[in-house]
Amino acid sequence: MAANHKDKDFTELKHDAVPGYKPVFGVVLAAAVLYLAYIFLSH
């Protein structure tokens, strides 16, 4: 995580993306949705 502290008053603390994590997030989210769908459909 990289903090944005250019502003002296620290009005905003952004969470900049680390390269490579967005695809991982997408894969995990897709897997979670499929898993939930499987659970709901199988009960």
Binding site: A3, D9, F10, T11, L13, K14, H15, A17, V18, F25
Partner: protein
Amino acid sequence: MSSGLLIPPFMFFMLGGIIAGFLKGSLRNALLIAIPVLSLINLAMIPHGVYLEYEFLGHQLALFRVDKLSLVFGYAFHIVSIAVLVYGMHVKSNKEFIIGLIYAGGGLGAVFAYDLITLYVFWEIMTVASTFIIWRKDSMEAVGAGFRYFIFHLVGGLALLIGIILYITATGNVAFEHMGWTNLATGLIMIGFGVNAAWPFVHTWLVDSYPKASFLGTVMLSVFTTKTAIYTLARGFAGEETLIVIGAVMTAFPIFYAVLENDLRKVLSYSLINQLGFMVVGIGVGSQMAINAAVGQAFVHIMFKSLLFMGMGAVLHQTGKIKATELGGLYKYMPFTTVFTIVGSMTISAFPLFSAFVTKSMILSSVATEGFMVVWLVLLFASAGVLDHSGIKIPFFAFFGHDSGLKPKEAPLNMLIGMGFLAFLNIFLGIFPGYLFQILPYEVTYNAYTADHTIFQLQLLLFSILAFTLLLRSGLYPAEIRSINLDFDFFYRKGYKVFVWLVDNILIRFMDFGKALFFSYIPKTLKMLTRNPVGLLLLIVPDTRFKGLREKMAKSEDGYVDGLVEYWSIGLSAFVICFFLLFYLLFFLVNKLI
């Protein structure tokens, strides 16, 4: 009923608080510790029963009822009072302790009150004392928040008072027992309790005022008002299914605000509402297991929420800052505070071996057992949300995250002892929940440490941590921004402006018109008409009537008939009085006959 020479806990706290106001240094600190310790020992020795009866307006009241339900809250209030008083012991001013002990006494008086009238008196003592705790911060923000807090609680207290009066009038019963929502009276009583329990739409007083009190005041406030409300709901409205819906909403909606919020004490305030929601759901379910779960959750919540507020209070005390944008990297300088806050975070997140794991599992199980599956899913979502905003966000942004450049000293020893004591209790009750089960209202046969419970909870927690990590690393986690998040108080503020406009533009004009009508036009007209009532009478009746009078009037020089003005005025007044008395008598007789 039986009575004896027993000292109710509120007397220890209120009298002790007043005496502490005259002491200084070690003597004051010794008394501050002695008050809750002696009161707790005294309480533990008193058998169940109703004590200290008195009569008021023909009703038999009692100051002190000891039973299993009141004892759970009584024990929790005493234990946390010890920790809070140690935590704040280095504060030199006595004022906060005097007000704080009176506030705690109000809370204890309310949970041990036998009847509704005694309960109401202590309820209002709590309101007044807690308002002064907010004002102790001595800032314009705190003054404003204190007034708003006071208005909310006055309205809630008024609903409670009207409900109590209607209830006693209708039933003749003053005892505070299970009543359920059956009519207007009990509905008003429930709303009165609901305001203090921070129900949705009236919750704004909590997130508005708690973060604006002093580092010690916020810890005090987080204990008594809301938990007393939970006690009253558990005693008066257990099994009221409306509470399940209200509680479910309370668990879910604060999560979104807590994720966005920058002020970490405000995050904890939203989290407090979320946790109260779990308790309200348990009370609404109303089974023996659910009541045990809700009351047990209240007990442990008092411990871990105070610990979290203490942790953030220590950060505020040492750095003067509490916003996520201004904090970070403090673990190097405040290691003990970091560890204790993490214990509080793990407890609120319901990690196995921490106290809330047991009680939250009981609530979820009782909801599932009674077949409220949608509510169960909402509670699961809320449990994952708790981990995000209180389990991770609080310690992450305060102690880790980025390097804020702050290099504070570790919190004073007494603050660490207070936090350490509560951290120990949270772990102890998580490992040995049997000690908690012993004091719950009903017999407990529940075992949270089964393989399926533990694995289920760990799954929930670990996937929530994974979600937080991936959101943060992907840059999708919302930025911490110094801003004011719009909550439902937006409508109160706008509503207030509309009200002021209505007063300025319509009500004032209407009042001016009324003033002119009743104080000018009508009196002038009446004066004119009564100046010569005989002349008026002769003007409005046909010329053929009252010939004698007309002749006398014609003979008089000034248009007045001698003597008749006085007679007519007195006679008319007597007639009007007799008419009203007769009307009243008829009304009375008809009312009697019906």
